[in-house]
């Protein structure tokens, strides 16, 4: 046989070996990654046992706080511009721009009870992302909107809700109708309830 041809055939044999090695390498790297994860978790557990400050830090930052989507998105938009390709057409948007109007407010459970006119059209107070729609005990049908300042606002006792889950909404947009004459509002930040006077100043 021609030496050049035999050399070529040898190369071809090596190729098959390489492919087998690739599969082995993939498995090895996969197991290595799992092992590294286990080591990191064990190191964290040991640190938590020995250091009480670290334990507090973990329980507060990882188990209690939640990621504020709207806050991060607002931050990114401020410094780097919008993430997704955006092209705004303002002609087709619904025009509804109002401020919250009410007669009086009283404390109710964790939040506040606002007395308003029957079937009042609720505007959104702070722009953000809708993170929950559904029934909450003692509040009725409610919507939770995570604001760009990191504060969750619960709008409760609603009807005919116009937003959907994970929609980005703007302040002043139409949210829904009030069922009856009471609107319940709760202001929450990292599982602490804020005061109504602090949040709305007017």
């Amino acid at each position: 046989m021609d030496p050049a041809v035999s050399k070529f055939l040898d190369k071809d044999k090596n190729k098959n070996k390489k492919e087998k090695n690739k599969k082995k390498n993939f498995l090895m790297s996969f197991f290595n990654k799992i092992l590294v994860c286990i080591i990191l978790v064990i190191i964290c557990l040991i640190m938590m046992k020995t250091n009480s400050n670290f334990k507090e830090f973990v329980s507060e930052k990882i188990f209690k706080d939640n990621i504020s989507f709207a806050y991060l998105n607002n931050l990114y938009n401020k410094y780097f511009g919008s993430i997704l390709p955006s092209y705004k057409n303002s002609d087709t948007e619904v025009v509804f721009n109002e401020k919250l109007e009410y007669f009086e407010y009283n404390k109710y459970l964790d939040g506040y009870k606002l007395s308003v006119t029957t079937s009042y059209l609720v505007p959104i107070i702070e722009s953000g992302i809708v993170v929950y729609i559904g029934n909450i005990d003692n509040y009725g049908e409610s919507v939770i909107i995570e604001g760009i300042d990191g504060v969750d606002i619960w709008y409760s006792n609603l009807e005919n809700i116009s937003v959907k889950l994970y929609d980005y909404v703007n302040s002043g947009d139409y949210l829904g109708e009030v069922k009856g004459e009471d609107l319940y509002l709760v202001f929450e930040k990292n599982q602490e309830y804020l005061k109504f006077e602090d949040y709305i100043k007017d």
């Binding site: 511009g81 993430i83 390709p85 705004k88 057409n89 929609d167």
Partner: protein
């Protein structure tokens, strides 16, 4: 013919997914991905209909790439059909999505992707379309250089626009990425041209038109040539054998 379709995600796509996860733009991103997916699938389906071999589809954050095992001497009209199939299938999927969902932003994302894709920049669909249309008038290399100049002009004007009027990091990174892609295509053009000639030497293509040329670097696509009172095939035979000896 057996066609195995590999669908890959580029590494930058994973970073983008992390960004989407942190900012909670799940809904918007799913619509964009569906539009992009059907755009690329349109290219691939048209390729399969015309019996081209599809190798893989790769997805980037704002677009995709369908890789064909193609010949440089493939028919211009077939390539144009494959290029146009992507935007057309995207438009069809947009109208189907519009029936089920009533969001304003789907329209805006659809329009921006479509317009950006049809810009005359060589790595995008629009630039390739311009290059193919120029191939019908000019020879292979001239049309390539004209489309390169056109794509550089549009790219630089876009970068200037991005710097002064519309500051956006992601758009800027995308434009830089396209810039390097164009530079790579300029580096690769000599190999592509050698491949163009070698295919003509190895396979029998049947072209209707014939032309008399003096230079080997002035070959036209879909055209048969005569150089120095010689047949194209004989001349290419000499050309490749001389290179082998030297």
């Amino acid at each position: 013919m057996k066609t195995i379709l590999k669908i890959k995600l580029d590494n930058s796509f994973y970073f983008f997914l992390l960004l989407i996860l942190l900012t909670g733009l799940f809904k918007e991103f799913t619509f964009i991905f569906v539009l992009l997916f059907f755009h690329e699938l349109g290219h691939a389906m048209m390729g399969i209909i015309l019996k081209w071999q599809v190798i893989s589809i790769t997805f980037y954050p704002y677009g995709g790439k369908t890789l064909f095992n193609k010949r440089e001497n493939s028919k211009i009209n077939e390539e144009i059909l494959i290029l146009l199939a992507g935007p057309i299938s995207q438009i069809i999927t947009y109208h189907i999505l519009n029936i089920f969902f009533s969001y304003n932003y789907i329209y805006s994302y659809h329009l921006t992707i479509l317009i950006f894709n049809l810009l005359p920049i060589l790595t995008l669909d629009g630039g390739k379309l311009v290059n193919l249309l120029l191939n019908k008038i000019f020879n292979y290399l001239t049309s390539f250089y004209i489309s390169i100049i056109l794509s550089f002009l549009t790219l630089i004007s876009l970068i200037i626009f991005c710097l002064f009027n519309y500051q956006n990091l992601n758009l800027f990174l995308l434009l830089i990425f396209l810039f390097f892609k164009i530079i790579k295509s300029i580096k690769d053009i000599k190999y592509a041209y050698q491949r163009f000639l070698l295919e003509r030497y190895l396979y029998d293509f049947k072209f209707k038109k014939g032309k008399i040329t003096k230079n080997i670097y002035a070959f036209y696509k879909e055209c048969y040539h005569y150089i120095d009172f010689q047949d194209e095939k004989k001349y290419l035979n000499n050309y490749f054998c001389q290179n082998k000896n030297s």
